[in-house]
């Protein structure tokens, strides 16, 4: 597969997305594409998949060729299906290749087994978790029996557990000598260990091309200066990283410093039971939150974390038990006053916006907004340039910032957040955390659902594990990360920092000599 002097330009843009690109890839090679967003990585894959210029309109000049069948896996697990059930969806790939009906059943079972999904063929797709959907999508692509497999950030929209499983599958595919893999991925840690070659894209051109070692070790500083992410540990592993490397010092760092939690109760839950019809989702949950406390809710998919959050926000009724805000039961609060104290940031920001422009969106967030207040917020959240745009036209990061901004324009007593950093890049995540950290310092209680354990380690005052309808753990993050069986049981993965520190501790202890025995 190769391309020569390739230039691609989309009809509504002035600049070319890909500019005079020349590259050739060999069969069986695994290539990792990295670069900042908008550097043309995805366009390159679309071109190789034969989607440009037929399906996606664009002006293309230059020559290119891909020998063999091409299959492509996309980022959004939900947006790759067109059928209702697992069997029919994989069959769709086979139908396109005109595979006879009699062979389908067996082939479907084979690819399902290959991606480790043990599902009935009639299982509805809508009921699968994000990780399972993505594995099913991979199965559908594998059913095409591709020679070239293109993967466009396949793990970006998955939780850590789904991500881990997906990465293992990709590594397995890498070992298949027939398959040429081309991968865009931000989870560099796992990829660099098996990638044969790394291409760095920037502004439509290829900046660097070489083995992972050449790129990430020798050009590391160069990349970092240009804002391109590098794998944290590479070329070392957790076991071999020396203390002198900057990364190790970062890993060894303590959680973010902050003021101690005040002793003033805000939200208080006692024996709260929540049910959907007859099905009990959460049974007798008790939880007390204080002002300026950052609590993170963790647990498996479908454990009821979001449901709990909605109940605390007075959006879902509790079957029994009491929830109090400032010692007053939720039922006695009137909506108008309650929602001046409690904010809620939804997982999908686009459904949270109600107005036509960003400035209006901020203006309705407070009952009597001063003009300066809105202007300040626009500056603070770096939304001033887009103040007159529709919130729906913003980039993902901007949408996120706006959704948090609308909730924090007035100081809230409690802010509830449903996975605010999910699927965001490192930069956006850092911005959101910065804003939340400030809110916490100002005395707001933050209750946040998350899957990101690094966040739990760095920022949480308290972590609550929800599983099997109950609170399984409620305490300091440190304590949780030492409890092996609890972590495993709830599909939680310890963050790299903690793994590193625990390893160091073991080493440290092992280095000590036993005290001499006295006769």
């Amino acid at each position: 597969m190769w391309c020569r002097n390739l230039t691609v330009r989309y009809p509504d843009q002035d600049c070319a997305v890909l500019n005079d690109l020349t590259v050739s890839l060999r069969q069986g090679e695994t290539t990792l594409l990295i670069g900042p967003s908008g550097s043309g990585k995805t366009t390159f894959l679309h071109l190789l998949a034969g989607l440009i210029p037929e399906t996606i309109e664009a002006e293309v000049s230059g020559e290119w060729r891909a020998d063999g069948t091409v299959g492509m896996l996309f980022q959004q697990p939900d947006d790759q299906f067109c059928m209702q059930t697992v069997g029919a969806e994989i069959a769709f790939s086979l139908e396109n290749r005109s595979i006879p009906r009699d062979e389908m059943e067996e082939r479907i079972r084979t690819v399902l087994k290959r991606v480790g999904l043990d599902l009935a063929l009639t299982a509805p797709i809508a009921e699968l978790s994000g990780g399972m959907k993505q594995r099913l999508a991979l199965a559908c692509v594998l059913a095409l029996e591709p020679d070239i497999l293109l993967l466009d950030e396949p793990t970006a929209q998955l939780d850590p557990y789904g991500r881990q499983v997906m990465m293992e599958l990709i590594e397995e595919l890498h070992h298949d000598p027939e398959v040429t893999l081309i991968l865009i991925e931000h989870q560099l840690e796992e990829c660099v260990t098996f990638a044969d070659r790394v291409l760095v894209f920037q502004e439509g051109q290829m900046r660097l091309d070489g083995s992972p070692f050449d790129v990430f070790e020798e050009k590391r500083e160069d990349l970092t200066r240009h804002g391109i992410m590098c794998p944290l540990l590479y070329p070392y592993t957790l076991e071999t990283i020396p203390l002198t490397v900057a990364t190790a010092r970062f890993l060894d760092g303590p959680p973010v410093a902050r003021r101690p939690v005040a002793n003033e109760t805000t939200l208080d839950l006692t024996d709260v039971t929540i049910a959907h019809g007859k099905r009990v989702i959460l049974d007798q949950i008790s939880l007390t939150a204080s002002a300026g406390e950052w609590i993170m809710l963790v647990g498996r998919n479908g454990a009821g974390k979001s449901t709990l959050l909605e109940t605390m926000a007075k959006l879902l009724p509790a079957q029994s038990g009491t929830i109090k805000l400032f010692q007053t039961p939720l039922k006695k609060w009137r909506d108008r006053t309650f929602y001046r104290q409690v904010g809620f940031v939804f997982q999908q920001p686009e459904f949270q916006f109600l107005k036509q422009t960003v400035a209006d969106e901020l203006a309705i967030s407070s009952p009597s907004p001063a003009r300066s207040q809105v202007a300040d917020a626009l500056q603070h959240y770096r939304l001033a340039d887009v103040a007159a745009q529709s919130p729906l036209a913003l980039s993902l990061g901007q949408k996120r910032r706006l959704s948090v901004a609308t909730m924090l324009l007035e100081r809230k007593a409690v802010l509830l957040l449903d996975e605010p950093t999910f699927g965001q890049d490192a930069e956006t995540t850092a911005q959101i955390l910065d804003v939340l950290h400030q809110a916490r310092e100002a005395g707001t209680t933050l209750i946040m659902v998350t899957h990101d354990m690094e966040l739990v380690y760095r920022y949480a005052d308290r972590v609550v594990v929800i599983g099997e309808k109950h609170v399984q753990f409620d305490g300091a993050p440190d304590e949780l990360f030492r409890n092996e069986s609890l972590l495993e049981h709830n599909q939680l993965i310890r963050p790299v920092s903690v793994r590193y520190q625990q390893r160091e501790e073991v080493k440290h202890r092992a280095g000590k000599q036993f005290a001499a025995r006295t006769p």
Binding site: L51, D78, D79, A88, P100, F346, F351, L392
Partner: protein
Amino acid sequence: MQENNSLLARLNPAVKLGTLVYVMMLLITTSRLPVTVALLLFAAVGVACSGWKLSTLVFRLVPYTVLFLLTFWMMAAFGKGETELWAFGWFRITEESLAHAWLVATRMLAFVLLSITFVATTDPTRFVMSLIHQCRLPVRLAYGFLAGLRFIPIFRQAIRTIRQARRIRQQRSIWPWQTFFAISLPLFTTSIIRSERIAIAMEARQFQPDRTYYVRPVVTRVDGLFFGLVCIITTSLRLFV
């Protein structure tokens, strides 16, 4: 729509649809109450055979029963006619309007029952496949429709989130259409983006009209028998009742 194991569910969906449409045509062409009632009873037999539990059936039929009563009352109390039976204020029930009310209300209910029979026993995927094979529906259109079906649960979730957001931010609209726009605009924009993504994903999987089929409904002898039998019964009901 859902599929179950009743006899009606095993029929070819296109044939089933054709048969039910024929019965509906008969309903439209008659203005005699006995015929309509007879066809209504026939439709009721169909619903009874649909394999739904009685409780589900009653639950689903409640809104239509209300609609039935409302239609009946409207037609009866406000219809034209000479022979007055009962009058109170604006309401004036006459013999003619009463007869007319019976006819329209039973016809409506018969339509509802026939539609429910179809919906209760037909799997959407099989239905669309049957339209491809038996009615020559273009493949691109058919698969587009199937992909669109997946939006229904996604929409439901999105609408829920928008309502919650409006509650939290204390936004109430004065006019109902404001609520409508507030909810439909974000739904519309996001669904355009999504449908484009899905279309690209389908193309990437080499979607083409020249293909084999995993689900391939065929017309069997049972389908023919069903069609013939229903036609004969309903036509004779139409002619001889």
